[in-house]
């Protein structure tokens, strides 16, 4: 409803004074009656509401200035242009607000469709995605249910027999230089085991091995290979410069393969859809437990259910809390299905 309150500002003040409560009642009724028919239906409703607010809001503003919407169907383009210029120059603040809101609404609509399509309709682009889980730490005193991992806690948790494989990852922004204008790139810094856990293969070249962890190598997303490297067939083996460090491209992922999917943690959205992947060096020093800045995924071992995995990581969390009271008192661990986490992230955004 907060989003609709923003949309409602497209209507002129007098119209809002008269009908704002009614508009909000109608939207609340609409969501109560139809908002439970699935995420896709709810997304369609929001697209319709956004479009309605933009088109009718502007029409009401024109009507308030004495021009009935739809009247004078044949108006020259030049006359419309002059009118637009006068409107913008006479009330630049309002014009900027409308342009901003139009941009917001259009990008929101595009984002809603894109994200719903990518996350809710298509299965996650990994092998047996229903066996993938996110691992989280939790710190109840601060009500942090989805706290990132410290490397040392993760090293203990990944030993759980419930998992067939685990991987630690985090996001990072870098600047690509040496290819014309400097370009910002989004990177996922991932443990070498990640691609094996996901069950994905390289389309070109190869993916990381544990031997790569200390090397300056990158794997490109398919989208970055197409968009930023112009589908260069010789890109594998090529050296690129990221944050002034030369790194060798060792592989390219297949189309549609991307990690992580949209995931929220502690009220924030984890950066998804990276341009490239870099190896993560896990800090195995058991004494460094206070720095929580990475995320963890795991694949459940054959025959292991979510409850069994939950029970095992909870026991590990309790053991660490007893063993390292300075850093781990009140810290426990839990597992959540990966797809459910993505859907929750999208629901929150919608």
């Amino acid at each position: 409803m907060r989003f609709y309150k923003i949309l409602a500002r497209l209507f002129p003040r007098a119209f809002r004074q008269q009908y704002e409560d009614e508009l909000e009642h109608a939207v609340a009724d609409l969501m109560r009656e139809e908002g439970t028919k699935g995420s896709l239906h709810r997304a369609r409703l929001w697209v319709g509401l956004s479009t309605d607010a933009v088109t009718r809001g502007l029409a009401e503003r024109r009507a308030e200035r004495g021009r009935t919407p739809g009247a004078g169907l044949v108006r020259s383009i030049a006359a419309e242009g002059r009118q637009a210029v006068r409107a913008v120059t006479s009330r630049p603040g309002f014009a900027l607000t409308v342009i901003g809101l139009l941009g917001l609404v259009m990008s929101a609509n595009t984002a809603v469709f894109g994200v719903v399509n990518a996350t809710l309709l298509r299965p996650l682009p990994y092998a047996n995605p229903d066996r993938l889980v996110m691992l989280w730490e939790r710190y109840a005193p601060m009500q942090m249910d989805t706290m990132p991992w410290s490397d040392a806690d993760y090293v203990d948790a990944r030993a759980a027999a419930a998992f067939d494989g685990t991987a630690l990852f985090r996001s990072r922004g870098l600047v690509l230089t040496g290819q014309g204008e400097p370009v910002g790139m989004r990177a996922a810094v991932v443990e070498a085991s990640l691609f094996g856990v996901l069950g994905v293969a390289a389309e070109r070249g190869r993916l990381f091995t544990t031997a790569d962890a200390a090397d300056a190598v990158v794997v490109l997303s398919h989208a970055a290979w197409v968009g930023k490297f112009h589908e260069d067939p010789g890109v594998v083996g090529h050296t690129i410069v990221l944050d002034n460090q030369p790194r060798t491209v060792i592989g390219v992922l297949g189309p549609g393969v991307s990690f992580p999917p949209p995931i929220t943690f502690s009220g924030q959205m984890l950066s998804s859809d990276p341009d490239l992947y870099m190896p993560y060096r896990v800090n195995t020093d058991p004494s460094v437990r206070g720095s929580h800045s990475s995320f963890a995924i795991a694949r459940l071992a054959d025959g292991v259910g979510l409850a069994a995995a939950q029970s095992e990581v909870a026991a590990i969390g309790a053991r660490l809390a007893a063993q390292y009271p300075d850093s781990n008192t009140s810290v426990d661990m839990h597992v959540e299905p990966l797809h459910g986490q993505s859907v929750m992230a999208i629901r929150g955004a919608l």
């Binding site: 009908y19 009614e22 009642h25 109608a26 319709g48 509401l49 309605d52 009718r56």
Partner: protein, 108 residues
């Protein structure tokens, strides 16, 4: 005042009983089998013009309205609105006859 499709649908919804905004939206959606959805902005923009033209009036919520609807505005079709709707539908009916006479198959 010329009646567009949204206005006709609103008047037709109110021809049966007094309704609040969402009640009108729901009636139109159901009656048109989902083909016509009145979004809130279009609905209240149309209701504003229909009220200015004297075709509908705002009324107090009926005593039979559920408690959570008591704060809503209800609308009632006026005699003038009923006549205007009748005229518009008569035009539509004439167009329908013309279409049939010209071998246009009229069906959903």
């Amino acid at each position: 005042m010329d009646l567009n499709t949204a206005s006709c649908q609103i008047l037709l919804a109110l021809a049966e009983r007094d309704l609040h905004g969402y009640g009108i939206m729901a009636d139109v959606l159901e009656r048109t089998a989902g083909r016509t959805r009145l979004w809130p902005g279009a609905l209240y923009g149309s209701l504003k013009r229909l009220a200015e033209a004297g075709f509908v009036v705002e009324i107090d919520p009926p005593k039979s309205a559920p408690r959570d609807r008591m704060s809503r505005r209800f609308y009632r079709l006026t005699a003038m609105g009923r006549r205007a709707l009748g005229r518009e539908l008569a035009h539509a009916a004439r167009d329908l006859e013309t279409a049939r006479a010209r071998n246009v198959t009229v069906k959903d």
